[in-house]
Symmetry: C2
Subunit: 426 residues, 2 copies
């Protein structure tokens, strides 16, 4: 039985108990929200996960790190080092988004070494295979099905499925009203396929078969947003909203079938459109967890998109988004290196945590109180131990020359905290 089916049968699984303990949410509430589809626990029945992870209403906002190589000869030890960096920085899940010949080795190692749930976009492997000898237009349903089955058998915990990219949407795209037509790799494969074959998206037409496979291994489906806007100006257009309607329809089908499901969201979205995006997803997808990619609140900051994404992510999560896909400083520029990955995870975790304070998530503000209490007494070691990343502040302090251990070099003997403390002591 999937977690969803168990919850519906009033069964509290071991996984639910583990999530309940980590989150401080009582098992009954957790079970009820899994039963209603508002919370998912992405965990393939065949995959051992050290750090189990619940995603959804009332739980801490989670962060995903995208990993994977995009060339044919990745250095596997380097890739596993990146996985380690992402997890140590605090990623709650990772996605292996590799393309290229070594895709299977990568996934195998990622599943083996990752202590957190692992997601994939099966279409990437399908496309890699097809493009080695032909064209996306040649892709048959069997090619897709084979990969989905094999990856499920390997133990993948969640699949991104771009089933919402329909013929109707491709017709809209062909009007060329968007600045950046499609910025989703999975989305672009389906648009290309539909455009070449004139048929309906096979992920859509064979969705029930995907549900059967997902159910067998309790793979959580993450319904992909192939139409996510890639430019602020494209946000909230027909393609985006139309796809969400389709995803809402499919999420209901998945849930009725006993398959856990979450919804992926934009993309490049101006601040003033974030609130309705979250509210709309929650209403049209019956409260399914919302997994946002960013959102990026401006297009003009390549090199700093982790900051752009942290702004959007914090706002989205404060309105109810449940799961943030990290954005690294190398977004739009290159495949991220280790430093980019760390920076990206930290930026997203800041956004998630700030939103959790705003949402009133249990225990979120306690961390701030602890760190600020250490700050009050200028206990640098304790401050840094409590910090979201102990390494960077430790290095910053080490590189500075404060006049005494009791202050920092920003104010030195003019430290306001110390001044008032001494003034009130007299």
């Amino acid at each position: 039985m999937t977690q969803l089916e168990s919850a519906r049968n009033n069964i509290i699984t071991d996984e639910m108990r583990r999530v309940s303990k980590i989150e401080g949410m009582d098992t009954c509430t957790l079970r009820d929200r899994i039963a209603s589809g508002e919370i998912v626990i992405p965990k393939n029945t065949l995959h051992k996960i050290e750090n189990i992870c619940g995603i959804g209403r009332g739980l801490k906002t989670k962060v995903n790190a995208n990993l994977g190589a995009s060339n044919n000869a990745p250095d596997m030890s380097k890739e596993m080092e990146k996985l380690k960096i992402a997890v140590e920085a605090g990623a709650d899940t990772v996605m292996d988004l590799s393309v290229g010949k070594k895709i299977n080795d990568m996934l195998n190692d990622t599943l083996k070494y990752s202590p957190v749930p692992v997601g994939t976009v099966p279409l990437y492997e399908v496309a890699t295979n097809i493009l080695a000898n032909g064209d996306i237009g040649d892709m048959a349903w069997n090619d897709i099905e084979d990969v989905i089955i094999r990856q499920a058998e390997m133990g993948v915990d969640f699949f991104t499925i771009h089933a919402g990219v329909t013929k109707e949407i491709v017709e809209f795209l062909k009007k060329r009203e968007r600045i950046l037509d499609v910025v989703s790799r999975g989305g672009s494969f389906m648009v290309d396929w539909i455009s070449k074959n004139g048929d309906e998206n096979p992920l859509y037409t064979n969705f029930d078969r995907i549900l059967e496979i997902a159910k067998r291994y309790d793979v959580t489906l993450s319904l992909g947003d192939g139409m996510r806007p890639g430019a602020i100006k494209d946000a909230g257009d027909e393609a985006q909203i139309q796809e969400l309607i389709v995803l809402g329809r499919l999420s209901k089908r998945a849930r009725d079938f006993g398959v856990q499901v979450m919804i992926e969201g934009p993309g490049h979205v101006p601040i003033n459109q974030i609130k309705y995006n979250v509210e709309m997803e929650k209403s049209i997808c019956q409260g399914a967890p919302f997994y946002v990619l960013g959102p990026l609140v401006t297009d003009i900051a390549p090199g700093y998109d982790h900051i752009v994404g942290a702004i959007g992510g914090a706002i989205a999560a404060s309105y109810g988004a449940d799961f943030l896909c990290y954005v690294t400083p190398s977004e739009h520029l290159r495949i991220p290196d280790g430093a980019d990955i760390k920076e990206g995870v930290i930026a997203s975790r800041i956004a998630a945590h700030a939103a959790d304070i705003a949402k009133g998530i249990k225990g979120a503000q306690e961390k701030d109180v602890s760190l600020s209490s250490a700050r009050k007494v200028r206990d640098w070691k304790r401050q840094f131990a409590l910090a979201i990343d102990p390494e960077k502040p430790t290095a910053y302090r080490k590189a500075s020359s404060p006049k005494s251990d009791d202050v920092c070099s920003m104010c030195n003997e003019f430290c306001p905290i110390k001044r008032v403390e001494e003034s009130f002591k007299r």
Copy 2:
């Protein structure tokens, strides 16, 4: 006449014309908003400013960079290099927040070399003088007045004045209900002084005299928030709100007197409290421009507070805050170096720009459209030239090995933009 008095007399000054041209706001609207106090143009009549800067309702959100040394022997050429970095990164104003013996040389050079408006906290010089031979408690009104007059004569464009820290607030602080009592240097001087003398804040009791000096040189007053919360848990407490009430009263007096005024705001504030903070400031201070320090939406990210501040700043500005004081990665840790300053200015500019898109500021979204149009055709040079910082993305691309000039190493031949372009071309 000050800009405010000119506006009230229906005079359109040269400065108004310059701001109007830069912002694309017609001169009459601009003049009316200066007359009502909703917009200020910080410019000392004695100071030549290359890049004039209007701040307030309907104008682009502005960014201030805090500079200055906190030791007695700063390397002046290094400090001027920092000024250059801040301005080149796009700071709209700078504040020289130096303390220590060379405070006057620093201010002199900053005023000479800065192409943007310069602000100070005159209290810092007063405190530096007093603390050289005595105690803050010894500070007399004359000491303060002398410095305010001299700095106004030197050409400082805006003064932070901590006149809202009153005896009543110090009584509240003495209950020790806050985690971090006072985190504002200026605030801590006044708390210390009041605590030692038992008298009312001399900046408050002599506020009319400050207005006379400010009026003579058209120095804009920035009413300082000495009680800004230094911890999320302290946000929105009696001290903070009580001070804002006093500032609202003083801002009315300043405006009635013909002196331009803006209001400084918090501080450490959780996301869910930002909206009311902006709305409250706008109502209680009669629409005066709101100059926020951050806000910082969590306490737990030392080393990454530029990201924390960008989240808070973007949200605050999208609700109507007008002016963001930058936060650098070294906040809470050390005096910022050149790299920190650049990172801080860029992060704040991202926040300001993202908010300007949300607020519908004229022309804001055009930059995004231009960059995204260049992105569509993979014109890297044009993308980077249009970017908020051309340097970093150029370096990132240079350090990567994409398979062709037409893609980036994130997706290589799987580039979705290229795929759909080619698919639709057939």
